[in-house]
Amino acid sequence: MSVTSSPEPGTAADRATRRPRAWPAGLDSRRRREAALGYLFIAPLVLWLVATILWPLAASVHLSLLDVRLIGTQGSFIGLDNYIRVLTDDRFWAAIGRSGIWILGNAVLQTVLAFSAALVLAQLFPGVRVARTLVILSWIVPTVVAVIFWRFLLNASGGGLINPLLIELGLTDDPVGFFSSGGSAMTSLIVINSWRWFPFITVILLAALLRVPSDLYEAAAIDGATAVQRFRYITVPMLQPTLFVVGLIGTLLSFNVFDIIWLITAGGPSSDTTTAPVMIYETAFKRFRLSIAAAMSVVTALILVAFALVFIRFAQPKEMG
């Protein structure tokens, strides 16, 4: 199967290196000029990120070596003590574990929802344009509004929709308390967060799907490939570069989701929905242990970077040709 024409990242960069232009003489100086121009073009972005991410990150690393408790107070240097505390704290690792469940749950649910929605919306049928616009609705809603939505919908004591509906359908006799056990609280939060994010992934996948040349499918159909085979051998490989970036960024983004959990359960019941970001926030602003929270976030960031490197190493699309 020839997919060299795939207009996707990765391959494009390769294409640029593999198909050098017929440079005239003076190649070296031209290359140098091109490099300088390249740095010039990316400079605004890089400087922006250095100022707003790297600098605060450095400030956090500094903070993590002190013993500051409350914002605004001074601390003294205590070396790696905070790191030792964090790394030997069972509660921190439990929170990291919950974050693992959180990203896994979100990844599975959002992948299923987004894939099925994108595959349907990629087809042409009456009303598809309206459907493509409607599907985006829950992504454009601010978290605070999403929280209002779901607190209202899941209410069991006056108002609400889900509980009266379940009762009318005879699925349950008594209203369900969606946040009253650790398991169901985590599940409900994952559903709510997925509700908020899957439309965006749907659109990205939809875009990638529509870029797959339709003659590939036609050829495969003539060869007698089934729908499942076409999905497995055409769609998935063609989507791989997109899935790679969405998988990487989606995982990092959903790991760091904080507000929706905080506003709905505050990490409870007990600490069953206390993921790493929730614990960091609580440690900094509720337990007033700012430096320990800084150490926690540095450790967390390192774990995420390690994850990203492993992900890049093993999931990056291979060179195609």
């Binding site: 006056g158 209203p175 308390g177 969606f178 946040f179 009253s180 409870g268 019941p269 602003f285 007033f288």
Partner: protein
């Protein structure tokens, strides 16, 4: 404030000229207030008081910037550290030690003494702000938890308003059924659950959280008893109490799905969201366990802290607060949320401006009961004069509610839950 209206206007008109001609008395003093009474109608009411004050005091301009309780624990310390804190900041008792640690809070002993002489503060309102040799905030209004019930539902079941734990349990059980829950008690990791749990603890003799030496005394038979009783009552509560805040409890009560709840007030909700008449709304003190010597409830005396050491601003703040606490203004201030905020002064409790609000007229007997309950109010960490700044970390993390969650949702033994949370509290104050 002895100026007449005309002299005020004349003063305002010539202020600029006079300032230029060296009249320091008319130099403008600006006061910025942060408060957390963010609902729009409260902001509006406060603004109308500010407008009145500013008009009467041309040399002072008071401005408000409403904030949110959700962020203020992070925002206020950050603002203090960065030097853009307000001059006056509203507080509840366990917020004050936090700002005091930053060295930002000024003693207000003189202002409090002056106001006390004129209006007579209730001692229970002053107590949580008086420690380390000074008073750290001027009490402004009180809120206390009471037991609210639907009178017709109790009457239909032939039940008298409960005053003891046994009666409360029996009532909750008898009222439960047919889509109605006897009593709505929260089990969220939230301040509301802290409050309802502590309300029961107080009525089982477990009101002190600290010993005199600052060590934690949470894991006691009295606390365990309160947790066990809470668990019994929660069996007659709706299934979604794990995500309840105050609002859900009120909604449950207003929709008559809950026959009783523990709450600061339900008056406004009852008035606007039900077709009930005032005489159908019952309110009583929190029932006490048998033989408890000193029953009571949980109460929050809200106050205002002074964060500036500028003497001119200090004077302006004194001027503003005496304006606010004057009976004809104070009632209007309290009634920014009618039927919720209670006076903290003798003159305020009798103020015509307080009782003349239409809501207060219709629900006068309920508000009188609330006021009476508030006099027996206590707050965890602020009892018996044993006050330690570490309480901020205990209340900010809602540790009491976590004990409740363990017992009610996690089916843990009250003794285990109390021991576990005692440990968390010790960790928090370490």
């Amino acid at each position: 404030m002895t100026m007449t209206r005309t002299s005020v206007l004349a003063g305002a008109a010539t202020a600029l000229a006079l300032t230029a001609l060296s009249a320091p008395a008319l130099a403008q003093t600006e006061l910025l207030i942060w408060h957390m009474e963010q609902p729009p109608h409260r902001v509006e009411r406060i603004q109308s008081l500010l407008d009145a004050f500013n008009a009467a005091n041309p040399d002072i301009t008071v401005r408000q910037e409403p904030q949110n309780w959700g962020e203020i624990y992070a925002k206020a310390p950050a603002a203090v550290a960065a030097g853009n804190a307000p001059d006056l900041l509203f507080a509840i008792p366990d917020f004050t030690p936090l700002l005091k640690q930053l060295g930002a809070v000024q003693p207000v002993d003189a202002i409090v003494a002056m106001l006390d002489e004129a209006h007579g503060f209730y001692p229970a309102a002053l107590e949580p702000y008086a420690y380390d040799g000074h008073v750290w905030a001027v009490p402004l209004y009180n809120m206390a938890v009471s037991l609210w019930y639907h009178r017709p539902m109790l009457e239909a079941a032939g039940i008298a308003p409960p005053t003891t734990w046994d009666a409360l349990r029996a009532a909750a059980e008898a009222l439960t059924g047919d889509g109605v829950y006897g009593i709505g008690l929260p089990a969220n990791k939230h301040l509301y659950t802290d409050q309802t749990t502590y309300a029961l603890m107080v009525n089982n003799g477990a009101s002190a959280l600290y010993d005199a030496d600052g060590s934690i005394r949470f894991d006691t038979p009295e606390t365990q008893g309160a947790l066990a009783f809470y668990d019994e009552l929660a069996a007659f509560s709706p299934p979604d109490i794990a995500s309840w805040t105050w609002g859900e409890a009120e909604a449950c009560f207003a929709s008559r799905a809950c026959a009783m709840i523990l709450q600061f007030t339900v008056i406004t909700t009852f008035e606007t969201q039900t077709d009930g008449t005032p005489d159908q709304l019952g309110v009583a003190a929190i029932p006490a366990a048998e033989g408890v010597a000193d029953p009571g409830t949980i109460a929050y005396a809200n106050g205002v802290m002074l964060l500036t050491d500028d003497p001119a601003k200090h004077d302006a703040a004194a001027e503003f607060l005496s304006f606010l606490m004057t009976p004809e203004n104070y009632g209007r201030f309290l009634n920014m949320e009618p039927g919720l905020f209670l006076p903290v002064t003798e003159t305020g409790a009798e103020a015509e401006s307080f009782w003349s609000d239409p809501v207060a007229v219709a629900y006068r007997s309920q508000i009188e009961t609330m006021l009476e309950n508030s006099r027996n109010g206590r707050l965890f960490g602020f009892t018996d004069g044993n006050i330690f700044p570490s309480i901020a970390a205990i209340s900010a993390q809602n540790l009491i509610s976590q004990a409740t969650q363990r017992v009610v949702l996690g089916d843990e033994d009250p003794a285990d839950a109390a021991a576990e949370v005692q440990e968390m509290m010790e960790d928090a104050i370490e």
